[in-house]
């Protein structure tokens, strides 16, 4: 079973890579096509905010990319399921498990947004993040260690982590939208409309923020059960609070004059930086969470 989990993980990783390759081809061929159609006088069909899927012909690669991303998602879910059957708990006992979960969450949330907005160009940023996560997992021994006592509160932790990966996934998508938004200033061709990117970034945080709140609250419940205090300013907790505050600030920034647009987009970029800091925090600081080996 562990072997099957590992093979699924590898298959998932390869699929993500393949999906990125398709997206790159799709993006490149749209550029070529647009030049050609422009020459042919057909540019008018691609209204200002052309995106890959708008162009019928070459975007077949974009659909392949999405299809393979779905495949990757399924492989990774399978991998986590196999592993959970063996270990009897959710993916939270070490960074290997959690990184795969993180990547799965990122891909899952991306696909959710892809279905809704059809902006595969987001995948060009989101999927490499997932791929890096999976490659990072590669560097960590995949052994299934039994749980230390503090982690034996299974249900609470499984939910805590499941909610966390959704939150992190949405933050990755909002990050991608914000990066594309900011790239607009640099004349990068074939970007979706600014308003659309702004909207996607916001939509993602609207899902992510309540989930992130839930992550922190569940963590507090767990800490209260295990240590008799719901909050101890341990660096991991604090980092998640920093993340939460940044996204909270973002939600207000969107309705404050002078903060909409670019500054709000920067908050999304910084917010995702804080998310990664929270996730990788253990590598920088100790704290109670370090004995969970978990991000």
């Amino acid at each position: 079973m562990l072997k099957m989990s590992e093979y699924s993980y590898i298959a998932g990783m390869l699929s993500v890579a393949l999906s990125i390759a398709f997206y790159v081809i799709a993006y490149a061929s749209v550029r070529v096509a647009s030049r050609r159609t422009a020459v042919a006088g057909g540019a008018a069909t691609m209204d200002g905010g052309t995106t890959m899927q708008v162009v019928a012909g070459p975007s077949i690669f974009a659909s392949y990319g999405t299809l393979v991303a779905w495949l990757a998602f399924i492989f990774l879910v399978a991998s986590m399921t196999f592993r959970a059957i063996v270990t009897g708990h959710g993916p939270f006992s070490n960074m290997y498990e959690f990184s795969i979960a993180f990547a799965t969450g990122v891909i899952g949330v991306y696909l959710f947004f892809e279905r809704k907005y059809h902006q595969q160009i987001l995948g060009l940023i989101v999927l490499p993040i997932a791929l890096l996560m999976l490659l990072y997992a590669w560097t960590i021994p995949a052994t299934a260690d039994p749980l230390v006592p503090a982690l034996q509160n299974n249900l609470l932790l499984s939910v805590h982590v499941a909610v966390a990966i959704v939150a992190y996934g949405t933050f990755a998508v909002s990050f991608a939208a914000a990066v594309l938004y900011l790239l607009q200033a640099y004349g990068v061709p074939r970007l979706p409309k600014a308003e659309l990117l702004d909207e996607i970034g916001y939509r993602a945080v609207v899902i992510g923020f309540p989930f992130m709140t839930l992550v922190i609250v569940l963590g507090a419940v767990w800490a209260n059960v295990a240590w008799g205090r719901y909050w101890g300013w341990d660096p991991k907790e604090t980092a998640s609070l920093v993340t939460w505050l940044i996204y909270g600030a973002y939600l207000h920034a969107r309705v404050v004059r002078g903060w909409r647009g670019n500054r709000a987009a920067w908050l999304l970029v910084i917010g995702f930086g804080a998310t990664l800091f929270t996730y990788f925090g253990n590598l920088f600081f100790g704290g109670l969470h370090s004995y969970s080996g978990l991000g």
């Binding site: 260690d145 034996q152 509160n153 609250v217 205090r229 719901y230 300013w233 980092a239 309705v255």
Partner: protein, 493 residues
């Protein structure tokens, strides 16, 4: 959220139509003293203020993760604190002094952190008060009729030339709204019919709920900090009874401790058998594990750590027992090669320190079955009055007293916690989450319709402002599309 007003610029039209009463405009240059109150109110109810306070708080918290924080309680003991500062000086060098002055080593109890939290709380309360009336009015007494100008300028606006008379159009419009689960309010004014439709009109109170719940959580933290305690290094040697203190009248006896391990050597379980006494009477007994605390009233005992203890007994010259208990070796010294415990002999004014090699360490001075006992005058840690290595079971004379090292034991390390703020904190947390899900997943919607007689029968104008709810646009189009097909469609196809 004020009642809707008409947009004045296309820039405003892009995002939202309602002006932001929350935003301090910082307009006028002249300030009269009587304005100061109003100015403060403006500042505290401004979302820009909220935004900036949140970001400052984030930066302070970030510093708290990047800069080493002093262990809790150590700041109260200036000597220990200085020693701690010295220990981190190699890391921060000449910055140590200034950083200490700025409170960076205890950022979460610093004036900065507390000050910003107080400002943010004030701001949250001000905003909530500020918004309540508007929210209430919008939900209960919404403005139902809009002027034609509104439809000219609303970001979502559509005009339908209906082929039916106004009353038939009204029936169609109402039906369409109903089928989309909107509530409708109809107002007639001569020939003109105004239809106001809304959905999830209570959901905006979720924002209010979320903000108030933040205050509730902070109140809970304050209550806990004032009336609670958390003793994180409460060590009970097996066989000994230790007073809880803090005015609880409780004492804990550990009757057994077991630590078990996986084959890999990783710990699998820690379990301590505890008996709890209140004023000498047994009131509870339980095996306490990680995640399985013993609760008595609002006081909880958590298994946290464990280690070695030594049973020491002390007699005076007449042979009367002064002390006979396990001494937990709670501290480490000499780079972790030694474990150290301490107890007091209050009547003699002595502090006794017990030193043993850490497990796995071999000491030239203290051999297996031995401990080193150091006797100090309480309050004078500079020079021991007497120091001696003593072997198990062999009484030794020191400082006029007889010390015996009876045996090695384990101690169980407990966290003893009482936090009367917890109900507020978790109550607030639940409200916060419910509030957030309400705001975000049940977006409130409001659509106005104006029906007047028109050339083909009637003219139906539909309009809505959108806050920053992106899903509204498509929904609006769908509803209007359905209206169109029923109002005009009859002859079309």
């Amino acid at each position: 959220m004020s009642e809707l007003s008409v947009p004045t610029s296309t820039a405003a039209q892009k995002r939202q139509v309602a002006p932001e009463p929350q935003e301090g405009t910082g307009g006028g240059l002249t300030i009269s003293p009587s304005d100061i109150g109003e100015r403060l109110w403006r500042i505290f109810t401004s979302m820009r203020t909220a935004l900036i306070l949140m970001l400052i708080l984030a930066v302070l918290a970030l510093i708290g993760t990047l800069v080493v924080q002093a262990p809790g309680g150590i700041t109260a003991d200036s000597q220990a604190y200085q020693a701690w500062l010295d220990s981190i000086t190699p890391k921060y060098g000449g910055w140590t002094g200034p950083m200490d002055m700025l409170g960076l080593f205890s950022i979460f109890s610093s004036i900065w952190f507390k000050g910003i939290t107080v400002l943010l709380t004030t701001s949250i309360l001000a905003c909530s008060v500020n918004r309540f009336k508007g929210l209430w009015k919008t939900a209960v007494h919404p403005r139902t009729k809009m002027t034609p100008v509104f439809y000219d300028r609303a970001p979502h606006s559509e005009t339908i030339d209906a082929s039916v008379a106004t009353d038939a159009a009204l029936a169609d419009v109402t039906k369409t709204f109903r089928s989309h689960h909107y509530r409708t309010v109809v107002e007639r004014d001569g020939e003109e019919i105004a239809v106001y439709a809304d959905r999830f009109r209570w959901a905006p109170f979720g924002t209010l709920m979320a903000h108030i719940s933040l205050v509730m959580i902070l109140v809970g933290a304050l209550v806990g900090g004032t009336w609670g305690f958390n003793n994180g290094d409460f060590a009970v040697p097996v066989g000994s009874t230790v007073e809880v203190g803090n005015g609880t009248g409780l004492a804990v006896k550990a009757t057994a401790f077991n630590d078990s391990y996986y084959e890999s050597g990783a710990p699998s379980d820690y379990a301590a058998d505890l008996v709890l006494y209140k004023d000498g009477q047994q009131v509870a007994a339980q095996t306490v594990r990680v995640n399985q605390p013993l609760g008595y009233g609002d006081i909880n005992f958590y298994q946290s750590f464990f280690g070695a203890a030594t049973d020491i007994s002390v007699r005076d010259a007449s042979g009367a027992a002064l002390f006979s208990q396990g001494v937990p070796l709670l501290y480490t010294a000499q780079n972790g090669t030694e474990r150290v415990g301490q107890f007091l002999l209050p009547e003699q004014g002595l502090t006794v320190i017990v030193v043993s090699p850490a497990s796995g360490e071999i000491s030239e001075v203290i051999r297996a079955g031995q401990v080193q006992v150091e006797v100090y005058k309480t309050g004078d840690a500079a020079q021991p009055i007497a120091t001696q290595v003593i072997s198990q079971g062999q009484p030794v004379e020191m400082a006029g007293l007889t010390f015996t090292f009876d045996r090695e034991r384990q101690f169980t390390g407990l966290i003893v916690a009482k936090d009367p703020g917890v109900p507020f904190v978790f109550g607030g947390a639940i409200l916060l989450i419910v509030g957030l899900f309400l705001v975000f997943f049940f977006p409130s919607r409001r659509i106005w319709t104006r029906i007047v007689p028109g050339p083909a029968g009637s003219e139906v104008r539909v309009g809505a402002t959108s806050r920053h709810d992106a899903t509204f646009g498509p929904d609006f189009q769908k509803i209007v599309g359905e209206m169109k097909s029923s109002l005009v469609g009859t002859r079309g196809i």
